[in-house]
């Protein structure tokens, strides 16, 4: 920006002034010298000297004049050139300044405005005006380029953002799908919802890349669930028919055992045993298939019967020794389940012990419930097998997928144990084999009632006065129209007796067995009727009772005789007098 030209101006002026003063001085000096020379010249030569001096002065003055003229011109030229240089310098400086301005101010401003989103023309207009056309062109070109670049960058950035957003959304959807939707869908499918329902209910990813495979998966899953459910339902249905058949066969067999004599009894028992085993197998399958047990009991079953019912269903029942002294009974609703559970475990114990060794079953009554211990003397279970058995009977793996080939028993045990809250534990037995400890919780036990002896006791004392069995029989046989139907009064009266004193829990709350109300109402009605009809009958009761008990005795005799009519003993034929 500095302009150095003006600093040389005074010196040039002084020099030109000096240069302008030199020719007159030279002319004066030379004129003086010529005068001096002509004055000093000898007279004779004065004219000649004067002429020579005058001529030489003229020459000098000409030369001086020419020189000064020339130098003046040269000086003028130089001045002009210096001025031009100055102008040029100034122009250069101006241009430099403009360039600097463009570089430092205008372009950054334009770039900034463009970056801020202004258009190229607007940015150029807003930016400090650039005078020079070249610079303007440059600026313009720059602005255009920058604008393009900015636009491109913006486009790329937005594209990038979009891609990023999409990726994030896809990731979120994928996470939602795997963490929540699919588990929920699978749960719903397991509950039995159809694929369409599940697809409609839940929120599925909008990305086709995720949605399509998810939908495909759900449909396939629903299909296999449906197939599994249909197969299960079909087998449960079919098995229920087999179960019903087996139960009716058992009833028939029992009836035949009553009817037929000793010669076929063994065969019937064998058939009975086979049918019972068949029942266990079908029940096992039915339970695994989600079906029911083949039987259901409507009354409490004492432990002894439970054990027998269980042991009767396994093939090696004769090897099982039972040690049961408890009178406790299992409630009807749980009896079949407990029986099945014990049967499976006894079957296991019998199958995994040598065929000559016995399996011992102990029953103890504890405050925690009834403890049944099944001990065999077979091989000790390997740790892995024990763990597997523990897991199976824990009832956690209720999925059919976890079943192993023919080992279905323990899975059934697991289900039953979970259903009734029974705990089943395996441990090494001190007899050398494996022991299974089964704890039946107290809630499975039936309320303890006064056991049956009440009736027999009473019967017994009623029988005492009769002198001897045989005459009593005869007299009653002839004189009494003995009852053989259960609905005649002496039976209906005898039956509620065991139930009467029983009905209180340990806490003193009354307990009523199902169906008791009707029976009691009926009984009350009968009693009232009897009291209304013959008030005097009460006095004659003891005697009447004796007669009734004798009647009961004969009723039993008669029933037994009829039941055993096919029996082997020949004497029975002639026993009763055939009334004509």
């Amino acid at each position: 920006m500095s302009v150095p030209a003006p600093t040389s101006q005074p010196r040039t002026a002084k020099a030109s002034r000096t240069a302008r003063a030199v020719p007159p001085a030279v002319l004066l000096v030379t004129a003086a010298a010529a005068g001096g020379v002509s004055a000093a010249a000898p007279e004779p030569a004065r004219g000649w000297t004067l002429a020579v001096a005058g001529a030489s002065w003229l020459c000098v003055s000409c030369a001086v004049l020419v020189t000064s003229r020339l130098s003046r011109r040269a000086r003028r030229t130089a001045d002009q050139q210096a001025a031009q240089i100055g102008t040029l310098n100034a122009q250069l400086a101006q241009q430099h300044a403009a360039t600097l301005h463009v570089a430092n101010v205008a372009l950054p401003a334009v770039a900034k405005q463009l970056r801020d989103g202004a258009g190229a023309d607007e940015a150029l207009a807003n930016a400090a005006s650039v005078a020079e056309p070249e610079l303007r062109r440059i600026t313009h070109t720059f602005a255009t380029l920058v604008q393009d670049a900015v636009r491109q960058a913006a486009a790329v950035r937005s594209e990038h953002h979009e891609v990023q957003r999409e990726t994030a959304r896809a990731a979120a959807e994928l996470e939602q799908l795997t963490q929540r939707t699919l588990p929920a869908a699978i749960a719903r499918l397991r509950e039995g919802a159809s694929a369409d329902v599940v697809l409609a209910e839940l929120e599925w990813p909008s990305l086709p890349l995720l949605r399509t495979p998810a939908e495909l998966f759900i449909r396939e899953m629903a299909h296999s669930e449906r197939r599994a459910a249909a197969a299960q339902a079909a087998s449960a249905k079919a098995l229920s028919r087999v179960q019903a058949k087996a139960v009716s066969m058992l009833a028939d067999l029992r009836e035949m055992q009553e009817r037929h004599g000793e010669e076929v009894f063994g065969d019937l028992l064998r058939l009975d045993h086979s049918t019972s085993q068949l029942g266990l197998m079908t029940d096992r399958l039915a339970l695994l298939m989600g079906g029911r047990s083949s039987r259901a009991w409507n009354k409490p079953i004492v432990m002894e019967s439970i054990l027998r019912g269980a042991v009767g269903r396994i093939s090696a029942y004769q090897r099982v020794r039972m040690h049961c002294s408890t009178q406790a009974a299992i409630s009807g609703y749980a009896a079949e389940g407990v029986m099945h559970l014990l049967a499976e475990l006894m079957d296991n114990a019998a199958n995994f012990s040598p065929p000559i060794d016995e399996v011992h079953v102990y029953v103890e009554e504890r405050t925690a419930g009834i403890v049944v211990t099944i001990e065999d003397s077979g091989l000790k279970m390997a740790d892995a097998a024990m763990r597997h058995a523990e897991k199976a009977v824990a009832g956690q793996a209720t999925d059919l997928a976890s079943l192993q080939g023919t080992r279905l028993g323990l899975a059934v045990v697991g289900r039953l144990a979970a259903k009734y809250g029974v705990s089943v534990n395996f441990r090494p037995s001190s007899r050398g084999g494996t022991g299974v400890v089964i704890l039946l919780p107290p809630q499975l036990l039936a309320q303890q009632r006064e056991p049956a002896p009440a009736t027999t006791e009473r019967r017994a004392e009623a029988v005492i006065p009769t002198p001897g069995p045989a005459p009593a029989m005869e007299s009653d046989l002839l004189g009494t129209d003995y009852p053989d139907h259960p609905d005649i009064p002496w039976v209906t009266e005898a039956e509620p007796v065991p139930a009467r004193p029983a009905s209180a829990t340990p806490n003193g709350l009354p307990v009523r067995a199902p169906g008791r109300t009707m029976a009691e109402a009926e009984l009350e009605r009968q009693q009232r009727k009897a009291a209304d009809d013959t008030p005097a009958r009460d006095e004659s009761r003891p005697g009447a009772r004796g007669a009734r008990d004798a009647g009961a005795q004969f009723g039993a005799f008669h029933r037994g005789r009829r039941a055993g009519a096919g029996g082997p003993s020949g004497e029975t034929e002639s026993e009763p007098p055939a009334p004509e």
Binding site: L269, H273, A296, E304, R308, G312, S325, G555, G564
Partner: protein, 117 residues
């Protein structure tokens, strides 16, 4: 399909007899049985009931009806008890004197005669 609820007993007869199907003991339907001791703990419930029932002489057929068990099963159970001398069995006098009774034909004739009176 809801099945009817079972009202019977779950114990099959072969579990009651321990698999035996034949009685070797000389019981017939009218043999009178008397228990010789009180039931003890740990006995089979049928044995207990027989011993309770037979505190007074009771016929086999009556036991069978009371226990609701076939005669053969009762005879096997009685055989067990007899083998351990917990019961005694005796044939009723009627059965013993059976041989000396008049013929059925004769009785019939007498009956006819009485009717004709």
């Amino acid at each position: 399909m809801r099945r009817p609820v079972d009202t019977g007993d779950p114990d099959r007869l072969y579990t009651v007899t321990g698999g035996r199907s034949r009685a070797d003991d000389p019981f017939d339907l009218v043999t009178l049985v008397v228990s010789e001791c009180e039931p003890t703990a740990g006995m089979q419930s049928e044995h207990v009931r027989i011993l309770e029932l037979c505190r007074h002489p009771t016929a086999v057929v009556e036991i069978s009806a009371e226990l609701k068990l076939p005669i053969t099963v009762v005879r096997i159970l009685l055989g067990d008890l007899l083998a351990t001398s917990r019961i005694t069995a005796r044939h009723p006098r009627a059965a013993q004197s059976f041989a000396s009774l008049p013929e059925t034909a004769l009785l019939k004739e007498v009956l006819d005669g009485l009717r004709n009176l």
